[in-house]
Symmetry: C2
Subunit: 337 residues, 2 copies
């Protein structure tokens, strides 16, 4: 069905050998200028492009990066993906993206599939299930074969590889400190994401550390249990506790807190201050607009891609892995004083 021009055809039409045509296209100095020009001319005429499959088979490189993401309906990962794509394509790499939907099994399948379709390396944010069961053999196989991996955001100590993470703990500390500075003393932390996630743990720890140091400040925690019932749980929680501030450990928690506060007739930020994580659509389109911890997802993704590309383009046996921490920033909007 599809018949693309090949070296063979060019060679035939030019009365040259395939080798000569191949070399000419690379402007090999050992070929006469005249021949080079003839070849280029015909190649342009036919809009010849080398068959990527064949080149890859020879070179054992595909110039393709496998990207494994837990979710895509989540603004954070969507933005990270955007950053990855930009950085990759700038460096001549394309990406193949797979969404695990937080499933450990899917993650294993995708890693194997991409590995056997010969991606040059991987960029990964672990699925929730993987972090929960803590089983990462599928990545160990890659390591054994020297396939470079860069993990970002959701990482694991089990795998020795480059990592790009957010300073979640510090971010959380800063957010709580900001609330305290603006006069809040009865603070709650609300989360709708699983406490199995590395990021959830760190954010919670950060919050605790700060409130523990302040005797006059109390911290109440609400890990939402039923994700189909987030609103009711949060509404009840707000009503039962006389809070003056909430830190949502994820964007949904913060957005719903805003809406339920509105519903209960609380004034924001007069009666209650709210800070969220992830500077996504919900934060920018809530009313009032959410003060939020921006994790600079795009930078995070771009950085991960850049690290991987460097490793791929300059492979070295004794490469030593590193962990980069991307600083967050607190974006002040209207949900805090």
């Amino acid at each position: 069905m599809r018949k693309k021009v090949t070296l063979k055809q060019l060679a035939k039409e030019l009365n040259l050998s395939i080798s000569t045509v191949s070399k000419s296209l690379k402007n090999d100095p050992e070929i006469s200028e005249k021949t080079i020009n003839r070849v280029h001319e015909l190649a342009n005429f036919y809009n010849y492009k080398p068959n990527a499959l064949a080149v890859s088979l020879k070179s054992n490189k595909t110039k393709t990066i496998g990207v494994i993401l837990p979710e895509i309906l989540n603004h954070f990962y969507a933005k990270a993906l955007f950053g990855i794509e930009q950085a990759a394509s700038k460096n001549g790499y394309k990406i193949v993206t797979c969404i695990t939907n937080e499933s450990h099994k899917k993650e294993i399948e995708y890693v194997e599939m991409l590995n056997y379709s010969s991606v040059d390396g991987f960029i990964v944010a672990l699925s929730q299930e993987t972090q929960m069961v803590n089983e990462l053999d599928h990545f160990k196989v890659l390591k054994r074969d020297n396939v470079p991996i860069v993990m970002f955001d959701r990482v694991s100590d089990e795998i020795e590889c480059d990592k790009v993470i957010v300073d979640d703990k510090i971010a959380s500390k800063n957010a709580i400190q900001y609330l305290i500075n603006t006069g809040c003393t009865k603070i709650a932390v609300i989360t709708t994401i699983s406490s199995d996630l590395s990021v959830a743990k760190l954010r919670l720890e950060g919050a605790r550390e700060i409130t523990d140091k302040n005797d006059n400040v109390s911290l109440i925690e609400l890990p939402v249990k039923d994700n189909n019932n987030v609103e009711d749980e949060i509404e009840k929680f707000l009503k039962d506790n006389n809070l003056d501030a909430v830190l949502g450990l994820d964007e949904t928690a913060a957005a719903v807190t805003i809406n339920m506060s509105l519903k209960l007739g609380y004034k924001i930020p007069k009666d209650i201050s709210v800070i969220g994580f992830t500077d996504g659509l919900l934060s920018r389109h809530s009313y009032p607009k959410l003060t939020t911890v921006s994790q600079h997802a795009e930078d995070l993704g771009a950085k991960a891609a850049q690290i991987l590309v460097n490793q791929l383009d300059n492979f070295s046996e004794n490469y030593k892995v590193k962990t980069e921490v991307v600083k967050t920033s607190l974006i002040l909007r209207n949900s805090t004083n």
Copy 2:
């Protein structure tokens, strides 16, 4: 660096020829059962998987679908992508996704790139720029080469290919009719997306058709000009016109309308009813929750993928293209009576 097991190695270790090993792995009946078993055993031991590149080079099939999307931070496309991925992987296809970011130039680049990395077919939603300049030569090249294309959502008459679209016009008609049925007479249509988009045009047409038929109903239109100034434009518009209903032709328009109404002290839906398009995060997390036209993005994507896969798996010269229309539904929530 990466050394995967090959047929050659298996053959050597088993003292068989490469051909015999290859056939054994396919359980070719002309090979003795004993040999087949020996081969499978060793292959399992080494976890042998055929090199996808080599298989593709031989078969001229990659079992890969190229997906070209205008945006990914948009819930609609993110959901569509999810649907595509599900349907594709169920049928043994993987997908390579490229985001054009609404750029015509990027779209051309990606189509060429994917074509030369030999994807078997394409699923496309056109970029805004492409719909504006109406130049689709890059797809015509694919057609000439018999590479199957399925367009969805943002399609073009210029290209003869399968299409999966939403009944945008009817959706818009139904939404307006619903507003009229609930007693609204002074209705506005607000849009933050470009009027160059096929979908924008259809939605607007639908709205006009219904209001034209109702003498006592007036329709005012606000195409937001400056996308950095959406809120101010909408706030002013709401203040200047004494509306009792707004249909947002995109999710942002509707979400901002809700927020600005709140800001102006209007009660929703008592003073003003609001309906949006695209049943995304913003619609579900606004306060009050948005009544919205769901385009069933996931189904849309899944359907597009299914059509493409069928075409790929049963290629026929005299295939006749079709256009499938996916019905929308109006999801009633709290922003309307």
